[in-house]
């Protein structure tokens, strides 16, 4: 397992509030990793910093030797809410944007993914339901050939069928070398898929364990995750 991502002593403040403090995280290649934590725990911010779109942090982020933001952006694929496009933009136009802008964007693969997700290229962004929009975002993210994929809450607020499609696309399109980091605030649907679990709480990475270790302690990943939060009630 080769080293992929190293986050070292990362601290990030915004509006004088600490969002992340002393975060350390190491990921190796070829894994499916869950980034678990409550809403507002700092999962999205951590992903944004790794992806190079959040600024003014302390600490280092090293993705296969790339520490500069623009170099990192070339080596990872991050789910984007597509807010840079107007609502009248068609799926095929978004496809063209990605194909021209990202050298590693594989159009054939996008077409396959798009068909798998049952998305019509003529549809406008405004016509998409939340589940369809999320499926499009996943298809665009996976059509880039990178070593690290950051999926920020891909299952939030969408129906069961769309969730199933997204989970299946992860199984089908993940190649052996690449690592997928999936943030979520609940885990049961993807728990059988995971290699590792990262718990984010109190503005930092509290624990990072392999899924197998969690299971060997006679716990489901769900119970393990929830244990970090029930402790709080006892205090």
């Amino acid at each position: 397992m080769s080293k992929l991502l190293t986050v070292k002593d990362l601290t990030y403040k915004k509006n004088q509030k600490t969002i992340l403090k002393d975060v350390n995280l190491n990921l190796t290649s070829g894994k499916i990793v869950a980034l678990l934590g409550e809403n507002g725990a700092g999962k999205t911010t951590l992903m944004r910093i790794i992806a190079g779109v959040a600024k003014n942090y302390k600490g280092t982020v090293n993705l296969e030797g790339a520490t500069k933001e623009d170099e990192r952006k070339a080596k990872l694929s991050f789910t984007d809410g597509l807010t840079g496009f107007s609502d009248s933009t068609k799926i095929k136009e978004v496809d063209r944007f990605y194909a021209t802008i990202f050298q590693d964007f594989d159009e054939n693969e996008f077409t396959e993914l798009r068909k798998f997700m049952h998305l019509d290229p003529e549809m406008k962004l405004s016509q998409l339901s939340r589940g369809m929009r999320e499926k499009l975002i996943i298809a665009l993210t996976f059509a880039r050939k990178t070593d690290l994929y950051l999926l920020d809450e891909p299952f939030g607020g969408i129906d069961a069928m769309a969730r199933k499609k997204i989970i299946n696309s992860i199984i089908l399109w993940k190649d052996e070398k690449s690592t997928i980091l999936i943030s979520d605030h609940f885990v049961n649907e993807i728990s059988s898929l995971l290699d590792e679990v990262v718990i984010v709480k109190d503005h930092t990475v509290l624990e990072h364990k392999s899924a197998e270790d969690v299971r060997q302690n006679h716990k489901t990943i769900e119970e393990y995750y929830e244990s970090f939060y029930t402790d709080e009630d006892d205090e």
Binding site: S192, L194, R215, Q216, H218, K219
Partner: protein, 123 residues
């Protein structure tokens, strides 16, 4: 498929495939579904399926044809043995549960016989 908590998933996949073979859903010499298909079916990581298949290859329940995939062994003796160990496992559990309920070992056979007779009457 629902996975149990405290057992590694790759091991549970093995068990799942053993059952498929024992029940005759996968026959001797037959090609088993591809790694990706199995991963999709069971909602697990491709790596995990691969690991399970590796273990089964090591136990010679499966054999790999290059470029074609994995096949169930044609060694009927080994298959029978595998089936027997599955049955043994189930019986083990049954015996243990009965003992917990206070049914003594020497009475097990008669208890079971009695049960089978009663459930037959109900049909």
């Amino acid at each position: 498929m629902e996975f149990k908590d405290n057992i590694p998933i790759y091991f549970q996949i093995e068990q799942y495939l053993y059952r498929q073979i024992a029940m005759g859903k996968l026959k001797a010499g037959e090609k088993i579904p591809s790694v990706r298909k199995l991963a999709l079916e069971l909602t697990v990581n491709v790596n995990t399926v691969q690991r399970a298949l590796q273990e089964m290859n090591a136990q010679q329940i499966l054999y790999t044809k290059r470029g074609e995939g994995n096949f169930v062994t044609e060694d009927t003796e080994l298959l029978a043995k595998t089936k027997q160990s599955l049955i043994d496992n189930e019986l083990d559990e049954f015996v243990q549960n009965m003992e917990k309920l206070g049914v003594k070992r020497q009475n097990l056979a008669s208890t079971l016989e009695d049960y089978l007779k009663r459930s037959k009457d109900h049909e």
